[in-house]
């Protein structure tokens, strides 16, 4: 048999063929790789990402709320949330029946949740009480996991509950908690962990964290101690007079900052769903009603500023006056009216007919110009949800009767915060400030994100007019209807109001009143402007002198002491005894 010799040429030829095939195969592989890596990369990466990685949300830390002295009013604490990884639960029915009594949930519902295989993880029950989470943890069920979530906590309990509001599972639902939600809530984070084909976490492979951003802290203008004084006195009024509603608001006249604001009935933020939603709102901001005689200060400010007011000019009050054929009574009608009084005295005596006359002098256009300039009929812009704007007459629809009633605070509707801000403007030189609750917003490192500057809306009256108004308001407390609000040692000024409420038939009630008082102290250097109102007294004496005046006096007395405001005058030795 002939042998075929393998020569070098043959070897070379074979090598070239192998080389060509190898190169072609490599090129083919490279092309395929390029197709996968470049053309199909995004789609495949997305699919792979879903297969490898499981993620779980981490709720962010909600910012805290502090008072003006850095005292914590609302904060958060960690509690456990129970969740399930459905793919890791082998016997869902058994697990459901085991968990149901511990979690106080329906076993069927738990079974529904833990068999949602399409989800990588699912909440079973959130924000558990510590003893419940411990009991579930001790059961040591594979596939049931725990992670921390924050729960809102209000260390001062009911204090300022209507102002602060409350937070639900994931967001603020009332008060400042909802108004500043975008700052308080921060941003949610996530845990990404690689898992095998069965969804089980791979051992010794690190999870990745998308860290949550902690919410910002709110620093309020509110002072916890003044708020406590206010609420303590409101509770006393509730105890003694059992009114339908009672409220108070305290303002710093040099900035418009709200130092305290509260109303009753209120609620406990830890169990907010046990209370009627009406109790959640802060009445001084959200409710409006007829102001009564406290509104006379607006008419007075107008006539003084326009030079139409002569304090010594006299007016005869017979107990009523007639406008467009309709009788308008003075509260002194039963005893024959004030008689012959000066306009200066008509302020202290709160004479309705005299103010009807002053309103006529001013005219409807000017009066409503001042009403609007003092901020009535529009929201003040306070940083609180659901502020009411009140209701005033359209200028076109104001006739002599509307002008007359508006002059002494009847027929219109205003909010307590509008009233207190208007009086604040009268006592600080005429400057109407925008009221505010939050002074600063800071991040977790204390860096200031937002700092409030007091905002002057406009100057409504001159400083000269302001001084005259202060004098007249002081006369109300010294010699007039507000004498029961006088403080020993301190000079106080203010204006009382008694607003008649409407009966169901639309007529004014003869039994149902709102007693109010707005004033400030000390007169020589106002440090605090305070508005109080007691609505619908049902027990004990029903006059302002027994309800709103003592409320005003007690709050003012304690607050001035707390603020270390020195008395206006040295007390006599009688006081000491």
């Amino acid at each position: 048999m002939a042998e075929f010799p393998v020569t070098r040429a043959i070897v070379r030829k074979r090598l070239i063929i192998v080389f060509v095939f190898t190169v072609l195969a490599t090129l083919l592989l490279i092309s395929r790789l390029a197709w996968i890596q470049i053309v199909q990369a995004d789609e495949l990466y997305e699919q792979a990402w879903k297969q490898w990685n499981h993620n779980m949300p981490i709720s962010t830390g909600r910012g805290s709320i502090y008072d003006c002295r850095g005292r914590l009013i609302a904060g958060s604490t960690l509690v456990q949330t129970a969740a399930a990884i459905p793919s890791q639960i082998d016997e869902p029915e058994e697990v459901s029946y085991a968990l149901a009594p511990v979690l106080d949930m329906d076993a069927t519902r738990i079974n529904e949740l833990i068999t949602m295989k399409e989800l990588s993880s699912v909440y079973i029950k959130r924000k558990l009480d510590p003893e419940v989470s411990e009991a579930v943890r001790e059961m040591n069920i594979p596939g049931v996991i725990f992670f921390n979530e924050e729960k809102r906590y209000y260390p001062a309990g009911r204090l300022a509950s209507q102002l602060i509001g409350f937070a639900g599972m994931d967001q603020g639902l009332a008060g400042l908690e909802v108004y500043y939600e975008q700052y308080l809530s921060g941003s949610e984070g996530r845990i990404l962990y690689p898992a095998d084909g069965r969804g089980k976490q791979l051992p010794h492979v690190f999870s990745r964290f998308a860290l949550p951003r902690q919410g910002y802290d709110l620093h309020l203008a509110l002072d916890e101690s003044i708020q406590h004084i206010v609420e303590k006195e409101l509770d006393l009024v509730i105890k003694n007079s059992a009114p339908k509603q009672v409220m108070a608001i305290a303002i710093d006249p040099s900035t418009g900052a709200v130092l305290a604001a509260a109303s009753r009935p209120d609620y406990n933020p830890d169990t907010y769903d046990n209370y009627a939603p009406e109790n959640w709102a802060l009445a001084p901001f959200t409710s409006s009603f007829e102001p009564g005689s406290t509104f006379k200060m607006i008419t007075l400010a107008g006539v003084v500023e326009e030079g139409l007011f002569d304090p010594n000019e006299t007016y005869y009050c017979s107990g009523h006056t007639v406008v467009n054929g309709k009788e308008i009574n003075c509260w002194t009608r039963e005893r024959g009216g004030h008689g012959n009084i000066s306009y200066f005295e008509s302020v202290g005596g709160s004479c309705n007919p005299a103010f009807v006359e002053l309103g006529k002098k001013l005219g409807s256009d000017k009066l409503f110009q001042y009403i609007e300039a003092f901020g009535f009929g529009q929201p003040t812009g306070i940083d609180y949800p659901g502020e009411s704007s009140g209701m005033i007459f359209e200028t076109d629809s104001v006739g002599p009767l509307e002008l007359a009633t508006t002059s002494f605070g009847q027929g219109i509707s205003v909010t307590p915060v509008q009233q207190v801000m208007a009086v604040t403007a009268m006592v600080n030189g005429g400057y109407l400030y925008k009221p505010y609750l939050v002074e600063e917003i800071r991040d977790q490192d204390g860096k200031v994100i937002f700092a409030r500057e007091p905002e002057i809306v406009r100057q409504v009256v001159s400083e000269k007019t302001s001084q005259k108004l202060i004098e007249m308001m002081e006369s109300v407390i010294l010699d007039g209807t507000g004498h029961a609000a006088a403080l020993e040692g301190y000079s106080v000024a203010g204006k009382t109001g008694t607003a008649e409420k409407l009966d169901e038939d639309g007529s004014y009630s003869e039994r149902d009143y709102i007693y109010s008082l707005v004033g400030f102290a000390p007169v020589e250097n106002p440090r605090l402007v305070l508005y109080v109102a007691v609505d619908g007294v049902t027990r004990g004496p029903r006059l302002g002198v027994h309800t709103s005046a003592p409320l005003f006096k007690n709050i003012m007395q304690d607050t001035l002491n707390y603020m270390l405001v020195s008395p206006s005058e040295v007390l006599g030795s009688d006081s000491e005894e």
Partner: protein, 129 residues
């Protein structure tokens, strides 16, 4: 005849490929220098792989430490927040007021018992004492 057959067989044997040797390709024995080069490359690769593995393992250890420190920090932060909340609860004005009145039997001062003094102001000294 037999001698001629032996010669032919011998020639055939020479032409047949021998086991372990490719036909027609001459094998060159590795010289000492080439062996040294190959050994050096292998040792270098081995050392490099050791460095890589070492780096990776130290990275893993550092990551463990980092995670552990982060966890400790989180615990301390949370503990601090809980303490802050507890301090706020204990020092709240309402709680102190209640304890003062109900447990300690304290009452509010009467008018005149509390006078705020200010520097440089003439005040009846009897009230300051």
């Amino acid at each position: 005849m037999q001698q001629a057959r032996q010669v032919a067989n011998a020639k055939q044997m020479n032409m047949m490929p021998q086991p372990g040797k490719k036909p027609g390709i001459r094998q060159q024995p590795l010289t000492g220098l080439k062996m040294a080069k190959l050994s050096l490359i292998l040792i270098t690769c081995f050392l490099l792989s050791l460095v890589v593995v070492g780096q990776y393992s130290s990275l893993v250890i550092l990551n463990y430490r980092l995670n552990s420190t982060r966890a400790e920090m989180a615990v301390i932060k949370e503990s601090s927040r809980s303490l802050e909340l507890e301090a706020a609860r204990l020092s709240s004005a309402g709680r102190i007021d209640k304890i003062a009145r109900e447990k300690l039997g304290m009452v509010e001062p009467e008018v005149g018992q509390l006078i705020v003094l200010s520097a440089g102001r003439e005040t009846d000294s009897r009230f300051g004492e």
